[in-house]
Protein backbone atom coordinates (compact mmCIF):
# COMPACT_ATOMS: atom_id res chain seq x y z
CA UNK A 1 0.00 0.00 0.00
CA UNK A 2 1.37 3.39 -0.95
CA UNK A 3 2.36 5.68 1.88
CA UNK A 4 -0.17 8.50 2.04
CA UNK A 5 1.29 10.81 4.68
CA UNK A 6 4.53 11.79 6.34
CA UNK A 7 4.66 13.00 9.93
CA UNK A 8 6.78 16.04 10.74
CA UNK A 9 6.89 18.07 13.91
CA UNK A 10 5.60 21.63 13.82
CA UNK A 11 8.63 23.97 14.15
CA UNK A 12 6.45 26.41 16.09
CA UNK A 13 4.73 24.20 18.70
CA UNK A 14 6.32 20.75 18.14
CA UNK A 15 2.93 19.12 17.58
CA UNK A 16 2.64 16.31 14.96
CA UNK A 17 2.33 17.87 11.51
CA UNK A 18 0.77 15.53 8.92
CA UNK A 19 0.42 16.55 5.30
CA UNK A 20 -0.87 14.92 2.17
CA UNK A 21 1.55 14.17 -0.67
CA UNK A 22 1.12 16.41 -3.66
CA UNK A 23 0.20 19.43 -1.56
CA UNK A 24 2.61 22.33 -1.29
CA UNK A 25 1.67 23.45 2.22
CA UNK A 26 1.03 21.92 5.61
CA UNK A 27 -1.00 23.58 8.37
CA UNK A 28 -0.48 22.73 12.04
CA UNK A 29 -3.79 21.59 13.54
CA UNK A 30 -2.73 22.81 16.98
CA UNK A 31 -1.26 26.31 16.46
CA UNK A 32 -2.58 27.02 12.95
CA UNK A 33 0.84 27.91 11.52
CA UNK A 34 1.29 27.28 7.79
CA UNK A 35 4.49 25.86 6.28
CA UNK A 36 5.85 25.28 2.80
CA UNK A 37 6.60 21.56 2.42
CA UNK A 38 9.92 22.37 0.74
CA UNK A 39 10.92 24.41 3.81
CA UNK A 40 10.08 21.52 6.14
CA UNK A 41 12.10 19.10 4.05
CA UNK A 42 15.09 21.46 4.11
CA UNK A 43 14.69 21.87 7.86
CA UNK A 44 14.87 18.12 8.40
CA UNK A 45 17.79 17.75 6.02
CA UNK A 46 19.71 20.33 8.07
CA UNK A 47 18.84 18.49 11.28
CA UNK A 48 20.25 15.25 9.86
CA UNK A 49 23.45 17.02 8.77
CA UNK A 50 23.80 18.53 12.23
CA UNK A 51 23.41 15.10 13.87
CA UNK A 52 26.16 13.70 11.63
CA UNK A 53 28.43 16.64 12.52
CA UNK A 54 27.78 16.10 16.21
CA UNK A 55 28.77 12.45 15.86
CA UNK A 56 31.97 13.54 14.11
CA UNK A 57 32.66 16.05 16.89
CA UNK A 58 32.33 13.34 19.53
CA UNK A 59 34.68 11.07 17.65
CA UNK A 60 37.45 13.68 17.25
CA UNK A 61 40.13 13.04 19.87
CA UNK A 62 43.01 15.07 21.25
CA UNK A 63 46.48 13.63 20.97
CA UNK A 64 47.26 13.88 24.68
CA UNK A 65 50.08 11.37 24.61
CA UNK A 66 52.43 13.88 23.00
CA UNK A 67 52.19 16.29 25.93
CA UNK A 68 55.21 16.37 28.25
CA UNK A 69 58.28 14.17 28.22
CA UNK A 70 60.39 12.03 30.56
CA UNK A 71 63.01 13.50 32.89
CA UNK A 72 66.60 12.42 32.47
CA UNK A 73 68.10 10.61 35.46
CA UNK A 74 70.29 13.61 36.17
CA UNK A 75 67.34 16.02 36.15
CA UNK A 76 65.23 13.77 38.33
CA UNK A 77 68.06 13.43 40.83
CA UNK A 78 68.21 17.21 41.24
CA UNK A 79 64.54 17.45 42.22
CA UNK A 80 62.92 16.91 45.60
CA UNK A 81 59.32 16.15 46.39
CA UNK A 82 57.32 16.95 49.53
CA UNK A 83 53.95 15.59 50.54
CA UNK A 84 51.66 17.53 52.86
CA UNK A 85 50.62 15.32 55.75
CA UNK A 86 47.42 17.34 56.12
CA UNK A 87 45.92 17.82 52.63
CA UNK A 88 48.02 15.42 50.59
CA UNK A 89 49.39 18.05 48.20
CA UNK A 90 52.60 17.09 46.43
CA UNK A 91 55.06 19.92 45.94
CA UNK A 92 58.25 19.73 43.89
CA UNK A 93 61.35 21.87 44.21
CA UNK A 94 64.97 21.75 43.22
CA UNK A 95 67.43 20.26 45.65
CA UNK A 96 68.41 23.65 47.06
CA UNK A 97 64.89 24.86 47.78
CA UNK A 98 63.10 23.80 50.93
CA UNK A 99 59.31 23.84 51.07
CA UNK A 100 58.58 24.93 54.64
CA UNK A 101 54.81 24.80 54.69
CA UNK A 102 52.00 23.72 52.45
CA UNK A 103 50.90 26.60 50.26
CA UNK A 104 47.38 25.20 50.08
CA UNK A 105 46.49 24.50 53.70
CA UNK A 106 49.31 26.19 55.63
CA UNK A 107 50.36 22.94 57.32
CA UNK A 108 54.06 23.21 58.33
CA UNK A 109 54.65 19.44 58.25
CA UNK A 110 55.80 18.50 54.76
CA UNK A 111 57.23 15.02 54.39
CA UNK A 112 60.09 14.49 51.92
CA UNK A 113 59.22 11.85 49.40
CA UNK A 114 60.83 10.29 46.38
CA UNK A 115 60.41 12.37 43.24
CA UNK A 116 58.56 10.27 40.69
CA UNK A 117 55.50 10.02 38.52
CA UNK A 118 55.59 13.41 36.91
CA UNK A 119 56.12 14.31 33.26
CA UNK A 120 58.70 16.87 32.34
CA UNK A 121 56.95 20.06 31.14
CA UNK A 122 57.38 21.15 27.53
CA UNK A 123 57.31 24.86 28.32
CA UNK A 124 57.47 27.33 31.16
CA UNK A 125 56.66 31.02 31.63
CA UNK A 126 59.33 32.39 33.97
CA UNK A 127 58.33 34.63 36.90
CA UNK A 128 58.33 38.32 35.94
CA UNK A 129 56.84 39.73 39.17
CA UNK A 130 58.80 39.88 42.40
CA UNK A 131 57.73 39.19 45.96
CA UNK A 132 57.65 42.93 46.74
CA UNK A 133 55.43 43.53 43.73
CA UNK A 134 53.09 40.77 44.92
CA UNK A 135 52.71 42.39 48.36
CA UNK A 136 52.16 45.84 46.83
CA UNK A 137 49.58 44.42 44.40
CA UNK A 138 47.66 42.81 47.27
CA UNK A 139 47.54 46.13 49.17
CA UNK A 140 46.26 47.80 46.03
CA UNK A 141 43.65 45.05 45.74
CA UNK A 142 42.24 46.05 49.16
CA UNK A 143 41.56 49.62 48.01
CA UNK A 144 37.98 50.67 47.24
CA UNK A 145 36.49 47.63 48.99
CA UNK A 146 33.90 49.38 51.18
CA UNK A 147 32.77 46.24 53.02
CA UNK A 148 36.29 45.24 54.09
CA UNK A 149 36.54 44.98 57.92
CA UNK A 150 38.75 47.80 59.26
CA UNK A 151 40.69 45.34 61.39
CA UNK A 152 41.53 43.19 58.37
CA UNK A 153 43.91 45.69 56.86
CA UNK A 154 44.89 47.29 60.18
CA UNK A 155 46.12 44.22 62.02
CA UNK A 156 46.69 42.11 58.98
CA UNK A 157 49.99 40.68 57.95
CA UNK A 158 50.47 38.42 55.00
CA UNK A 159 51.47 35.16 56.64
CA UNK A 160 53.02 33.47 53.66
CA UNK A 161 54.03 34.39 50.15
CA UNK A 162 55.15 31.57 47.93
CA UNK A 163 56.14 31.48 44.28
CA UNK A 164 54.55 28.47 42.70
CA UNK A 165 54.72 27.06 39.21
CA UNK A 166 51.30 25.64 38.44
CA UNK A 167 50.91 22.85 35.85
CA UNK A 168 48.73 23.67 32.87
CA UNK A 169 47.74 21.69 29.80
CA UNK A 170 47.68 23.89 26.69
CA UNK A 171 45.40 22.92 23.83
CA UNK A 172 45.90 24.02 20.22
CA UNK A 173 43.29 23.23 17.58
CA UNK A 174 41.80 24.22 14.28
CA UNK A 175 38.05 23.87 14.80
CA UNK A 176 35.14 23.61 12.41
CA UNK A 177 31.92 24.96 13.90
CA UNK A 178 28.32 24.56 12.75
CA UNK A 179 25.33 26.07 14.50
CA UNK A 180 21.63 26.47 13.82
CA UNK A 181 19.77 29.46 15.24
CA UNK A 182 16.10 30.39 15.31
CA UNK A 183 15.87 34.12 14.53
CA UNK A 184 12.87 36.43 14.84
CA UNK A 185 11.98 39.61 12.98
CA UNK A 186 9.14 41.67 14.43
CA UNK A 187 6.98 44.12 12.48
CA UNK A 188 4.66 46.16 14.67
CA UNK A 189 1.85 48.30 13.34
CA UNK A 190 -1.28 49.79 14.83
CA UNK A 191 -4.92 50.06 13.85
CA UNK A 192 -7.39 52.31 15.61
CA UNK A 193 -7.94 49.83 18.43
CA UNK A 194 -5.20 47.18 18.17
CA UNK A 195 -1.43 46.79 18.19
CA UNK A 196 -0.54 44.02 15.74
CA UNK A 197 2.82 42.27 15.83
CA UNK A 198 3.83 40.10 12.88
CA UNK A 199 6.82 37.93 13.67
CA UNK A 200 8.73 36.29 10.82
CA UNK A 201 10.65 33.24 12.02
CA UNK A 202 13.80 32.08 10.24
CA UNK A 203 16.21 29.19 10.55
CA UNK A 204 19.77 30.49 10.26
CA UNK A 205 22.71 28.17 9.59
CA UNK A 206 26.20 29.43 10.31
CA UNK A 207 29.43 27.52 9.72
CA UNK A 208 33.07 28.43 9.85
CA UNK A 209 36.57 27.48 10.85
CA UNK A 210 38.90 29.17 13.34
CA UNK A 211 42.08 28.42 15.23
CA UNK A 212 42.79 28.43 18.96
CA UNK A 213 46.26 28.43 20.43
CA UNK A 214 47.25 27.63 24.01
CA UNK A 215 43.81 27.27 25.54
CA UNK A 216 44.77 26.53 29.15
CA UNK A 217 43.28 24.03 31.59
CA UNK A 218 45.05 23.69 34.93
CA UNK A 219 46.42 20.31 35.92
CA UNK A 220 46.04 20.67 39.67
CA UNK A 221 43.09 19.55 41.75
CA UNK A 222 44.33 21.65 44.66
CA UNK A 223 44.17 24.82 42.62
CA UNK A 224 40.61 26.08 42.52
CA UNK A 225 39.54 26.12 38.86
CA UNK A 226 37.70 29.42 39.37
CA UNK A 227 40.89 31.03 40.74
CA UNK A 228 42.91 29.68 37.84
CA UNK A 229 40.31 30.89 35.31
CA UNK A 230 40.24 34.31 36.99
CA UNK A 231 43.99 34.73 36.99
CA UNK A 232 44.06 34.44 33.18
CA UNK A 233 45.03 35.50 30.64
CA UNK A 234 48.65 34.49 30.34
CA UNK A 235 50.71 35.74 27.44
CA UNK A 236 51.80 32.43 26.02
CA UNK A 237 54.02 34.12 23.44
CA UNK A 238 56.52 34.30 26.34
CA UNK A 239 56.63 30.54 26.75
CA UNK A 240 60.15 29.17 26.71
CA UNK A 241 61.29 25.55 26.57
CA UNK A 242 61.35 24.11 30.09
CA UNK A 243 64.60 23.89 31.98
CA UNK A 244 64.90 22.62 35.55
CA UNK A 245 66.94 25.67 36.48
CA UNK A 246 63.73 27.74 36.45
CA UNK A 247 62.63 25.86 39.57
CA UNK A 248 65.54 27.25 41.61
CA UNK A 249 64.07 29.12 44.55
CA UNK A 250 60.52 28.30 43.47
CA UNK A 251 58.05 25.55 44.17
CA UNK A 252 56.15 23.57 41.60
CA UNK A 253 52.86 21.80 41.97
CA UNK A 254 52.88 18.21 40.80
CA UNK A 255 49.94 17.73 38.44
CA UNK A 256 47.20 15.42 39.55
CA UNK A 257 44.85 16.07 36.62
CA UNK A 258 46.27 14.47 33.50
CA UNK A 259 45.82 15.82 29.99
CA UNK A 260 42.98 13.44 29.16
CA UNK A 261 41.06 14.55 32.27
CA UNK A 262 41.56 18.21 31.34
CA UNK A 263 40.12 17.76 27.83
CA UNK A 264 36.43 18.40 28.74
CA UNK A 265 37.25 21.86 30.14
CA UNK A 266 39.23 22.84 27.06
CA UNK A 267 36.52 21.46 24.76
CA UNK A 268 33.82 23.37 26.62
CA UNK A 269 35.70 26.66 26.41
CA UNK A 270 36.47 26.36 22.71
CA UNK A 271 32.93 25.22 21.85
CA UNK A 272 31.44 28.13 23.76
CA UNK A 273 33.55 30.73 21.98
CA UNK A 274 33.04 29.09 18.58
CA UNK A 275 29.26 29.22 19.01
CA UNK A 276 29.53 32.85 20.21
CA UNK A 277 31.43 33.75 17.01
CA UNK A 278 28.80 32.02 14.86
CA UNK A 279 25.97 33.71 16.79
CA UNK A 280 27.56 37.12 16.22
CA UNK A 281 27.27 36.40 12.49
CA UNK A 282 23.45 36.16 12.78
CA UNK A 283 22.55 39.78 12.15
CA UNK A 284 19.51 41.74 11.05
CA UNK A 285 17.09 40.11 13.48
CA UNK A 286 15.36 41.33 16.63
CA UNK A 287 15.95 38.14 18.60
CA UNK A 288 17.76 34.86 18.14
CA UNK A 289 18.22 31.64 20.03
CA UNK A 290 20.47 28.65 19.42
CA UNK A 291 18.89 25.40 18.32
CA UNK A 292 21.89 23.11 17.90
CA UNK A 293 25.63 23.22 17.39
CA UNK A 294 28.63 21.03 16.72
CA UNK A 295 32.32 21.86 16.99
CA UNK A 296 34.81 19.49 15.37
CA UNK A 297 38.50 19.63 16.28
CA UNK A 298 41.12 19.23 13.58
CA UNK A 299 44.89 19.49 13.64
CA UNK A 300 44.90 19.41 17.44
CA UNK A 301 47.79 19.06 19.84
CA UNK A 302 48.39 19.34 23.58
CA UNK A 303 51.40 20.71 25.44
CA UNK A 304 52.36 20.61 29.11
CA UNK A 305 53.54 23.87 30.66
CA UNK A 306 54.28 25.51 34.00
CA UNK A 307 52.93 28.99 34.65
CA UNK A 308 54.01 31.34 37.49
CA UNK A 309 51.64 32.17 40.34
CA UNK A 310 52.34 34.00 43.59
CA UNK A 311 50.26 32.49 46.40
CA UNK A 312 49.61 34.85 49.31
CA UNK A 313 47.88 33.54 52.42
CA UNK A 314 46.64 35.39 55.46
CA UNK A 315 44.28 34.71 58.35
CA UNK A 316 41.40 36.74 59.70
CA UNK A 317 39.30 35.63 62.66
CA UNK A 318 40.88 32.18 62.44
CA UNK A 319 39.92 31.72 58.80
CA UNK A 320 42.53 31.43 56.05
CA UNK A 321 42.25 33.74 53.05
CA UNK A 322 44.21 32.90 49.92
CA UNK A 323 45.01 35.34 47.14
CA UNK A 324 46.82 34.58 43.94
CA UNK A 325 48.76 36.82 41.65
CA UNK A 326 49.58 36.05 38.06
CA UNK A 327 53.39 35.92 38.20
CA UNK A 328 53.61 37.16 34.64
CA UNK A 329 51.01 39.98 34.44
CA UNK A 330 50.55 40.92 38.13
CA UNK A 331 46.77 40.38 38.13
CA UNK A 332 45.51 39.60 41.66
CA UNK A 333 42.46 37.45 42.37
CA UNK A 334 40.81 36.54 45.63
CA UNK A 335 37.82 36.86 47.89
CA UNK A 336 37.94 39.30 50.82
CA UNK A 337 36.10 39.01 54.14
CA UNK A 338 32.91 41.06 54.52
CA UNK A 339 32.00 43.24 57.51
CA UNK A 340 28.37 42.25 58.22
CA UNK A 341 27.55 45.61 59.84
CA UNK A 342 28.81 47.56 56.84
CA UNK A 343 27.02 45.15 54.52
CA UNK A 344 23.66 46.34 55.91
CA UNK A 345 24.56 49.87 56.99
CA UNK A 346 25.63 51.31 53.62
CA UNK A 347 22.70 49.93 51.60
CA UNK A 348 20.28 51.09 54.34
CA UNK A 349 21.65 54.64 54.17
CA UNK A 350 21.30 54.58 50.38
CA UNK A 351 17.71 53.34 50.72
CA UNK A 352 16.78 55.99 53.31
CA UNK A 353 18.26 58.76 51.16
CA UNK A 354 16.38 57.50 48.12
CA UNK A 355 12.93 57.38 49.81
CA UNK A 356 12.18 61.15 49.77
CA UNK A 357 13.55 61.51 46.25
CA UNK A 358 11.54 58.60 44.89
CA UNK A 359 8.45 59.76 46.87
CA UNK A 360 8.68 63.18 45.24
CA UNK A 361 9.09 61.62 41.76
CA UNK A 362 6.23 59.19 42.36
CA UNK A 363 3.93 62.02 43.40
CA UNK A 364 4.33 63.49 39.91
CA UNK A 365 2.76 60.36 38.42
CA UNK A 366 0.10 59.26 40.94
Amino acid sequence: MAKTSVNYQCPNCSAPLPYQPGKEKAVCEYCGTEFEISVLEELYRHAEERAAQERAAQEAKWDTDAAGSEWTEEEAAALRAFTCSSCGAEIVSDENTMATECCYCGNPTLLPSRFAGMLKPDYIIPFKKTKQEAVAALKEFYKGKYLLPSSFTGGNRVEAIQPMYVPFWLFDAEVEGHATFRAYQDHVFETSDEIITETNVYECLRSGTMRYERVPADGSKKMDDSYMDSIEPFDFSELVPFQATYLAGNLADKYDVDAEAAVPRADMRMSQTTVDVLEDAVTGYDRKEIQSSSVIKEDSKVAYAMVPVWILTTRYENRPYTFMMNGQTGKVVGSLPIDEKKKWLYPSVAALVSIPIVYWLAKLFV
Binding site: Y146, S230, P356
Partner: protein, 267 residues
Protein backbone atom coordinates in the same frame (compact mmCIF):
# COMPACT_ATOMS: atom_id res chain seq x y z
CA UNK B 1 -50.84 125.50 29.51
CA UNK B 2 -52.34 123.78 32.56
CA UNK B 3 -51.41 120.19 33.03
CA UNK B 4 -54.09 117.70 32.12
CA UNK B 5 -53.56 115.27 35.01
CA UNK B 6 -56.33 113.01 33.84
CA UNK B 7 -54.74 112.57 30.44
CA UNK B 8 -51.29 111.94 31.99
CA UNK B 9 -52.68 109.35 34.39
CA UNK B 10 -54.59 107.72 31.57
CA UNK B 11 -51.42 107.53 29.46
CA UNK B 12 -49.42 106.04 32.38
CA UNK B 13 -52.16 103.46 32.98
CA UNK B 14 -52.10 102.46 29.32
CA UNK B 15 -48.28 102.28 29.41
CA UNK B 16 -48.39 100.16 32.57
CA UNK B 17 -50.91 97.84 31.01
CA UNK B 18 -48.65 97.44 28.00
CA UNK B 19 -45.39 96.94 30.00
CA UNK B 20 -46.59 94.52 32.68
CA UNK B 21 -47.40 91.60 30.34
CA UNK B 22 -44.11 92.22 28.52
CA UNK B 23 -42.17 92.09 31.84
CA UNK B 24 -44.05 88.96 32.85
CA UNK B 25 -43.28 87.43 29.48
CA UNK B 26 -39.60 88.32 29.83
CA UNK B 27 -39.46 86.73 33.29
CA UNK B 28 -41.09 83.62 31.91
CA UNK B 29 -38.50 83.43 29.12
CA UNK B 30 -35.51 83.68 31.49
CA UNK B 31 -36.76 81.53 34.33
CA UNK B 32 -36.77 77.72 34.41
CA UNK B 33 -40.21 76.40 35.00
CA UNK B 34 -40.79 74.79 38.39
CA UNK B 35 -37.82 76.33 40.20
CA UNK B 36 -38.73 78.24 43.30
CA UNK B 37 -36.51 81.08 44.50
CA UNK B 38 -33.94 79.77 46.98
CA UNK B 39 -34.49 76.16 45.91
CA UNK B 40 -31.21 74.19 46.05
CA UNK B 41 -32.40 70.78 44.86
CA UNK B 42 -34.39 70.55 41.63
CA UNK B 43 -35.12 66.93 40.80
CA UNK B 44 -37.00 67.03 37.54
CA UNK B 45 -35.70 63.57 36.57
CA UNK B 46 -37.20 62.08 39.75
CA UNK B 47 -34.02 60.43 40.97
CA UNK B 48 -34.77 61.13 44.63
CA UNK B 49 -37.87 60.58 46.72
CA UNK B 50 -39.45 63.33 48.77
CA UNK B 51 -37.59 62.61 52.00
CA UNK B 52 -34.23 62.31 50.20
CA UNK B 53 -34.81 65.64 48.49
CA UNK B 54 -35.70 67.29 51.80
CA UNK B 55 -32.66 65.84 53.58
CA UNK B 56 -30.30 66.84 50.76
CA UNK B 57 -31.75 70.35 50.64
CA UNK B 58 -31.38 70.80 54.41
CA UNK B 59 -27.79 69.62 54.21
CA UNK B 60 -26.92 71.98 51.35
CA UNK B 61 -28.64 74.94 53.02
CA UNK B 62 -26.54 74.34 56.10
CA UNK B 63 -23.35 74.39 54.04
CA UNK B 64 -24.44 77.52 52.17
CA UNK B 65 -24.98 79.30 55.45
CA UNK B 66 -21.68 78.00 56.87
CA UNK B 67 -19.53 79.36 54.04
CA UNK B 68 -21.66 82.04 52.37
CA UNK B 69 -21.69 80.08 49.13
CA UNK B 70 -24.29 78.73 46.73
CA UNK B 71 -24.60 75.00 46.01
CA UNK B 72 -27.31 73.49 43.84
CA UNK B 73 -28.19 70.08 42.45
CA UNK B 74 -30.38 69.90 39.34
CA UNK B 75 -31.51 66.76 37.56
CA UNK B 76 -33.15 66.84 34.12
CA UNK B 77 -34.77 64.08 32.11
CA UNK B 78 -33.23 65.53 28.94
CA UNK B 79 -31.55 68.66 27.64
CA UNK B 80 -33.02 68.04 24.16
CA UNK B 81 -29.67 68.50 22.46
CA UNK B 82 -28.63 71.68 24.26
CA UNK B 83 -24.98 72.15 25.20
CA UNK B 84 -24.74 70.98 28.81
CA UNK B 85 -21.90 73.34 29.76
CA UNK B 86 -23.66 76.48 28.50
CA UNK B 87 -26.98 75.35 29.86
CA UNK B 88 -25.63 74.69 33.35
CA UNK B 89 -23.65 77.93 33.37
CA UNK B 90 -26.74 79.93 32.34
CA UNK B 91 -28.78 78.13 34.97
CA UNK B 92 -26.28 79.05 37.67
CA UNK B 93 -26.12 82.68 36.54
CA UNK B 94 -29.86 83.08 36.45
CA UNK B 95 -31.16 80.96 39.32
CA UNK B 96 -28.44 79.63 41.57
CA UNK B 97 -25.98 82.30 42.55
CA UNK B 98 -26.92 83.42 46.04
CA UNK B 99 -23.46 82.99 47.57
CA UNK B 100 -21.22 85.96 48.19
CA UNK B 101 -18.15 83.71 48.33
CA UNK B 102 -18.85 81.61 45.23
CA UNK B 103 -21.43 79.37 43.60
CA UNK B 104 -21.52 75.94 42.03
CA UNK B 105 -24.17 73.81 40.34
CA UNK B 106 -24.21 70.09 39.60
CA UNK B 107 -26.52 69.17 36.74
CA UNK B 108 -27.48 65.65 35.69
CA UNK B 109 -29.06 64.86 32.29
CA UNK B 110 -30.29 61.34 32.85
CA UNK B 111 -31.19 60.44 29.23
CA UNK B 112 -27.59 60.75 28.03
CA UNK B 113 -26.10 59.95 31.49
CA UNK B 114 -24.22 63.25 31.39
CA UNK B 115 -23.16 65.24 34.40
CA UNK B 116 -21.76 68.75 34.56
CA UNK B 117 -20.42 70.88 37.38
CA UNK B 118 -19.97 74.61 36.85
CA UNK B 119 -18.39 77.13 39.18
CA UNK B 120 -18.52 80.91 39.06
CA UNK B 121 -15.32 82.97 39.13
CA UNK B 122 -14.99 82.96 42.94
CA UNK B 123 -15.66 79.26 43.30
CA UNK B 124 -13.37 78.55 40.34
CA UNK B 125 -10.53 80.14 42.33
CA UNK B 126 -11.29 77.60 45.08
CA UNK B 127 -12.03 74.55 42.94
CA UNK B 128 -9.33 74.75 40.27
CA UNK B 129 -9.25 72.81 37.01
CA UNK B 130 -6.32 70.56 37.87
CA UNK B 131 -6.71 70.47 41.64
CA UNK B 132 -10.17 70.51 43.21
CA UNK B 133 -12.27 69.77 40.11
CA UNK B 134 -11.01 66.21 39.46
CA UNK B 135 -11.02 65.55 43.22
CA UNK B 136 -14.65 66.74 43.46
CA UNK B 137 -15.71 64.62 40.47
CA UNK B 138 -13.98 61.50 41.78
CA UNK B 139 -15.73 61.93 45.12
CA UNK B 140 -19.20 61.21 43.74
CA UNK B 141 -18.80 59.63 40.30
CA UNK B 142 -18.78 55.99 41.45
CA UNK B 143 -21.98 56.46 43.46
CA UNK B 144 -23.54 58.27 40.51
CA UNK B 145 -22.59 55.48 38.10
CA UNK B 146 -24.01 52.87 40.45
CA UNK B 147 -27.34 54.70 40.79
CA UNK B 148 -26.85 55.76 44.44
CA UNK B 149 -28.04 59.26 43.63
CA UNK B 150 -28.57 60.64 47.11
CA UNK B 151 -25.14 59.38 48.23
CA UNK B 152 -23.60 60.94 45.14
CA UNK B 153 -25.26 64.33 45.70
CA UNK B 154 -24.35 64.32 49.41
CA UNK B 155 -20.75 63.46 48.48
CA UNK B 156 -20.75 66.34 46.00
CA UNK B 157 -21.99 68.80 48.64
CA UNK B 158 -19.65 67.48 51.34
CA UNK B 159 -16.64 67.64 49.02
CA UNK B 160 -17.48 71.25 48.08
CA UNK B 161 -17.61 71.90 51.84
CA UNK B 162 -14.22 70.20 52.25
CA UNK B 163 -12.61 72.17 49.43
CA UNK B 164 -14.01 75.51 50.63
CA UNK B 165 -12.95 74.75 54.22
CA UNK B 166 -9.45 73.92 52.98
CA UNK B 167 -9.33 77.22 51.12
CA UNK B 168 -10.55 79.16 54.15
CA UNK B 169 -7.95 77.51 56.37
CA UNK B 170 -4.93 77.38 54.08
CA UNK B 171 -5.56 80.49 52.01
CA UNK B 172 -4.92 78.59 48.79
CA UNK B 173 -6.91 76.15 46.66
CA UNK B 174 -6.69 72.43 47.22
CA UNK B 175 -3.96 70.74 45.16
CA UNK B 176 -3.57 66.94 45.27
CA UNK B 177 0.16 67.38 44.70
CA UNK B 178 0.39 68.98 48.15
CA UNK B 179 -1.32 66.07 49.86
CA UNK B 180 0.37 63.08 51.43
CA UNK B 181 0.10 60.03 49.18
CA UNK B 182 0.23 56.52 50.60
CA UNK B 183 0.56 55.17 47.07
CA UNK B 184 3.62 57.33 46.39
CA UNK B 185 5.07 56.33 49.75
CA UNK B 186 4.50 52.65 48.94
CA UNK B 187 6.24 53.05 45.59
CA UNK B 188 9.09 54.92 47.29
CA UNK B 189 9.54 52.19 49.92
CA UNK B 190 9.50 49.40 47.31
CA UNK B 191 12.00 51.21 45.09
CA UNK B 192 14.15 52.00 48.14
CA UNK B 193 14.29 48.27 48.90
CA UNK B 194 15.34 47.68 45.27
CA UNK B 195 18.01 50.37 45.68
CA UNK B 196 19.13 48.71 48.92
CA UNK B 197 19.39 45.31 47.24
CA UNK B 198 21.23 46.78 44.25
CA UNK B 199 23.74 48.69 46.38
CA UNK B 200 24.35 45.67 48.58
CA UNK B 201 24.82 43.35 45.60
CA UNK B 202 27.26 45.81 44.04
CA UNK B 203 29.28 46.23 47.24
CA UNK B 204 29.41 42.47 47.86
CA UNK B 205 30.43 41.81 44.23
CA UNK B 206 33.39 44.16 44.70
CA UNK B 207 34.77 41.90 47.43
CA UNK B 208 35.69 39.07 45.08
CA UNK B 209 36.93 38.86 41.53
CA UNK B 210 36.95 35.08 41.44
CA UNK B 211 34.65 33.70 38.78
CA UNK B 212 34.61 30.65 36.53
CA UNK B 213 36.09 31.03 33.06
CA UNK B 214 33.76 31.37 30.12
CA UNK B 215 34.94 30.63 26.67
CA UNK B 216 38.37 30.83 25.13
CA UNK B 217 38.10 34.17 23.33
CA UNK B 218 41.51 35.28 24.64
CA UNK B 219 43.13 32.38 22.81
CA UNK B 220 41.23 32.63 19.51
CA UNK B 221 43.35 33.84 16.59
CA UNK B 222 41.11 36.54 15.12
CA UNK B 223 42.64 36.40 11.66
CA UNK B 224 41.98 32.66 11.52
CA UNK B 225 38.18 33.02 11.43
CA UNK B 226 36.70 31.89 8.11
CA UNK B 227 32.89 31.98 7.95
CA UNK B 228 30.93 30.27 5.21
CA UNK B 229 28.09 32.02 3.39
CA UNK B 230 25.08 32.26 5.72
CA UNK B 231 21.94 30.27 5.00
CA UNK B 232 18.73 31.87 6.26
CA UNK B 233 15.42 30.12 5.56
CA UNK B 234 12.01 31.65 6.24
CA UNK B 235 9.97 29.16 8.28
CA UNK B 236 6.66 30.76 9.21
CA UNK B 237 4.97 33.89 10.47
CA UNK B 238 2.98 34.43 13.67
CA UNK B 239 0.59 37.30 14.33
CA UNK B 240 -0.31 38.59 17.78
CA UNK B 241 -2.92 41.23 18.43
CA UNK B 242 -3.17 43.30 21.59
CA UNK B 243 -5.89 45.86 22.31
CA UNK B 244 -4.64 49.43 22.49
CA UNK B 245 -4.68 50.87 25.97
CA UNK B 246 -7.49 53.40 26.16
CA UNK B 247 -6.70 56.87 27.31
CA UNK B 248 -8.38 57.79 30.56
CA UNK B 249 -11.37 60.05 30.19
CA UNK B 250 -10.89 61.26 33.70
CA UNK B 251 -8.84 64.33 32.93
CA UNK B 252 -9.00 67.63 34.75
CA UNK B 253 -11.54 70.43 34.61
CA UNK B 254 -11.61 73.30 32.12
CA UNK B 255 -12.35 77.00 31.81
CA UNK B 256 -15.77 77.76 30.38
CA UNK B 257 -15.52 81.53 29.89
CA UNK B 258 -16.17 84.56 32.04
CA UNK B 259 -13.79 83.29 34.71
CA UNK B 260 -16.08 80.31 35.31
CA UNK B 261 -14.87 76.76 35.45
CA UNK B 262 -16.30 73.29 35.35
CA UNK B 263 -15.91 69.60 34.89
CA UNK B 264 -18.20 67.05 33.36
CA UNK B 265 -18.53 63.76 31.59
CA UNK B 266 -20.49 60.53 31.45
CA UNK B 267 -21.47 58.38 34.39
Amino acid sequence: MPLDYKRILSALAVLLCLLLPAAALAAKVNAEPGIEPGQVVVDEAGLLDRSERAELARHIEGLQEKHGIGIAVVTKKSLHGKDIVKYTDNLMNQRFSPGQNGNTVLLIAIDQRDFQIVTDAKMHAIITNDGGAPYLRDAFLDDLSDGRYQAAFLAYADTVDELVSYYEKEGKPFDPADQFSWIALGIAVILALVVMYGVQSYLVSMMSNVQPGYGAGAYLLDDSIRLEAPTDTFLYMTVTRAPKPKESDRDGGSDIGGGHGGIGGKF
